[in-house]
Symmetry: C2
Subunit: 215 residues, 2 copies
């Protein structure tokens, strides 16, 4: 189930993937003011930052491209479905937490007080995408500055399929979003996030126009 | 009151000031393995990062110097005691939270699971130095990765005077630590953190050998 986030001006973490791009469109469709935060952190698939920037440019959407140093990221992409081992191999420890805090910092410098995060039900193998985690981060963002910052994660109770349905309804150019960890010319079609992407379209009953290396 | 942190290998946030330098010495005196994290974030008093690095070099203390981008910091230093207004003017929103999460990331890449933070009782005008905040950050660090990271803040119930007393006992070169926000040749002696530094030595009953521009 997709929630309606409280009214506000939002900094939204934008990776350029299905979920965060749909979140951006969703907030805009509610007529909330939005600023996107795109992060380059040495990821193998840095292509996602270019895709995210282009998505913003096409929308006339203000965004900030931030460079985060010091995070050791994976250098080899595993293939196959998410398993506990695959998830661990693809984890950059505390990455999303650092990004959310930068989003909160950016919100304060804009004079805003809302941050949006596209974590969803199917992300839950990642410890920083669970309801428990979001609750802990909400608490932190309420306490850590002189004024509280509100974190909203409206997709937390939704499946990726529901997000694809919402995206299709809102006119998100879903095929132009980027998921693949390999960051090649086309989506590889084999890595855990490509497999999740395919399943989401299937679940949504919506044609997947993504070009895959391996269908 | 100063607490004894649980045994472990610690990444400690080191600013080069009285508190974090004493914390570094304290953990070393307990024979805990330590790695220092020093952060350059565009601060006016970037001199503190040089002081912190030198302190480590003199101790043969392994450390990492991290560059954090994207934080807008103050460009003018207020003078006088900490007031709510002075504290706000000297706050970089979510700075310490971002640094603590980088410390946790570094701990994971070292195969460690402890982070130490030198927040103390007198820091409490800063919202990210309160017991409530530390508790929220502890919770987050326990949840946000596949393995929990433990945050220890052994000075949280101590005054800055008690920290100076501990530092003196442990042989910390207190006069070589750096507090001043202005980052000039000498400590200015007028900014809020210089005033706190002076008071701490007085409270501790220990000679303050710091060179001040204005005594």
């Amino acid at each position: 189930m997709i929630e309606v986030p409280e009214e506000g001006k939002y900094v939204v973490l934008l990776s350029g993937g299905l979920d965060s791009t749909t979140l951006l469109y969703y907030l805009r469709s509610l007529n909330y003011r939005v600023h996107a935060l795109i992060v380059s952190y040495g990821q193998m698939h840095f292509k996602e930052t270019l895709i995210a920037s282009l998505l913003c440019k096409n929308l006339n959407q203000p965004y900030t491209l931030l460079r985060v140093s010091g995070l050791k990221t994976w250098t080899k992409v595993v293939e196959g479905e998410y398993t506990p081992e695959n998830t661990k191999a693809m984890t950059v420890p505390f990455r999303n937490s650092i990004f959310l805090l930068h989003a909160a910092n950016l919100a304060v410098s804009l004079g805003w007080r809302h941050v949006a995060y596209a974590a969803h039900k199917g992300d839950a193998p990642y410890p920083d995408c669970t309801a428990e985690y979001v609750y802990a981060m909400k608490t932190l963002l309420e306490l850590a500055h002189h004024e509280p910052i509100t974190l909203e994660a409206p997709f937390l109770g939704a499946t990726k399929g529901e997000i694809v349905q919402l995206g299709a309804k809102l006119g998100v150019p879903l095929e132009r979003t980027w998921s693949c960890y390999k960051g090649g010319d086309k989506h590889c079609g084999k890595c855990p996030t490509c497999l999740e992407r395919k399943k989401a379209f299937e679940e949504a009953g919506i044609d997947d126009l993504t070009e895959y290396e391996h269908v």
